[in-house]
Symmetry: C2
Subunit: 309 residues, 2 copies
């Protein structure tokens, strides 16, 4: 596992976590400047912060500061009570893809939505199964558009305590099942954002991280689970202050990123072909040297000598 103790080169700041400073809202361009001053190399900004600062202005500031965007927060919220609501969500998601592309983000992070109205405390449905079907439909349509823009989509499974009001995708397994259904080629267009806060409790986390592999792991978010947790949304801890064994989970993620089993099919096929060619070449050389093929015109010993072997 990589040693992060002597630097924060791999750290990206979710700008929602620093929007309130000294009791007031801090603009995104200010935050970009603060990150530059602190040697932070990547951020993950939120759409409303970008909208307030201006999309083009943000893109310029990010570029000038030499920052990269580990992700763009957030698309999703696919669910609705009627066709007009579903279409409005679809349009808004396409705009989010466009913005992410303008900003040069590595991926668009998706919080997929849940029971319509629940986020405002007025749920208009109890049918979480319907919400999940709407998410799958909306995501499938958005994937076509995002592919055409070259913008990867990262489904972020949220903690089950957000199943009613924020996201009805609540385990990594469920997110990966969606990925496999909508993007079986696993070429990098659709993947997951794994947040330890949302997933640390999951008894299948290690196995599902391995299943995700390099083809699906698009983002890794860290914070910590405090005991007791006094607020469902805003009582998250700094890394180390809570009970999540973050290094262990990061180890699983890093292992999955390099494991051959996690390679997408194309890369695996190419590697297998390459290995096959190498093996056949070696076999040919050995056969020509020690086998029964002899020709005064083709002495492999000389040929090998000339190749410097």
């Amino acid at each position: 596992m990589r040693d992060f103790s002597d630097g924060h080169g791999w750290l990206s700041i979710n700008t929602a976590t620093v929007r309130r400073q000294e009791g007031r809202e801090r603009g995104l361009l200010d935050i970009v400047g603060q990150c530059e001053a602190q040697g932070i190399r990547a951020i993950s900004p939120w759409r409303d912060q970008v909208a307030a600062a201006g999309l083009e202005a943000t893109a310029r500031a990010v570029k000038a500061a030499g920052l990269s965007l580990s992700g763009y927060c957030r698309g999703g919220m696919f669910t609705a009570t009627d066709a007009a609501g579903l279409e409005a969500a679809a349009q808004d998601n396409r705009r989010a893809v466009d913005e992410a592309a303008t900003l040069g983000a590595a991926c668009l992070v998706l919080v997929v939505g849940a029971l319509p109205g629940a986020l405002d405390g007025r749920p208009r449905s109890k049918d979480i199964g319907l919400a999940r079907r709407q998410v799958e439909d909306g995501l499938g349509a958005l994937l076509e558009y995002a592919r055409s823009c070259g913008m990867p989509l990262a489904i972020e499974p949220l903690h089950p305590m957000y199943a009613a009001d924020r996201a009805c995708v609540n385990t990594l397994e469920q997110a990966l099942d969606l990925c496999d259904a909508l993007d079986p080629a696993a070429g990098g267009d659709l993947g997951v954002a794994v947040d330890v806060y949302h997933t640390w409790w999951d008894p299948k986390l290690e196995a599902q991280v391995r299943r995700a592999g390099a083809a699906r792991l698009l983002a890794f978010h860290v914070c910590d689970w405090l005991t007791p947790t006094t607020d469902l949304l805003n009582d998250r801890g700094m890394m180390g202050d809570g009970v999540i064994d973050i290094p262990k989970i990061r180890g699983w993620v890093e292992d999955a990123l390099v494991a051959i089993g996690s390679w997408p099919h194309g890369a695996l096929l190419l590697s297998a072909t390459g290995l096959g060619l190498v093996a056949f070449g070696l076999y040919a050389l050995i056969l020509s040297r020690y086998g029964h093929i002899r020709s005064p015109d083709l002495d492999p010993t000389d040929a090998l000598k000339r190749m410097g072997a």
Copy 2:
């Protein structure tokens, strides 16, 4: 699905929900009296309430009131930081089994425990994997004792937001995996308590309820998930006030209780054998009537007439 709209014959009251009345603690014997007066036919009392009222006195009061115990809350809390702690938990759990037997409870409900110390806000470990292994070990040992007492154990998977401080078994699938590992015969000694509050969000709930079946479904708890939820422990809703589609989940449970696929292996094998015998018997009769076996001494027509067929 059964119609519960015209009576509460199937309702059991978890006595923790009525312990505070008009600002003060109400004793369990009082609660038993109140249930009897309201025509409530079953309760699920808590250990501390029973201890305060006295075990024998409670057993007598429950019997006098004609109440049945749908379950006894609760055993579990198997995890600890050292061997002494594990042994203390084991002893306490055996006492819980004894009490449940004295009270004539249908099962002992288990909240299995999580990170030692976390419930007191001072977690002494971040190793949820170790906690899960301790739970499996403790449960396996308790199962032997509970079997000898004839007391079924019901694992209650708790909502993942309680993974740190109350229970590290957080999905029905995980609970059933534990059941299958420790009690492969599925003869009714070990099962699950399905609480809609803890499980409603689970995308695999329907499939896992079906998997559980009659052999594992020992209890079904209902309340509701409110939006917003303002407290992780005490902000539960009355049935119907929240977003859980309780009738749908109850339908899954009722279907699972009668589905042949949910029968334990023994019952399934016996049924298959019985059906096989019936089929062979019919085949023999048909063969003897229409086939090539003829004997003046054995006229099946007469035999059937004598049997009244």
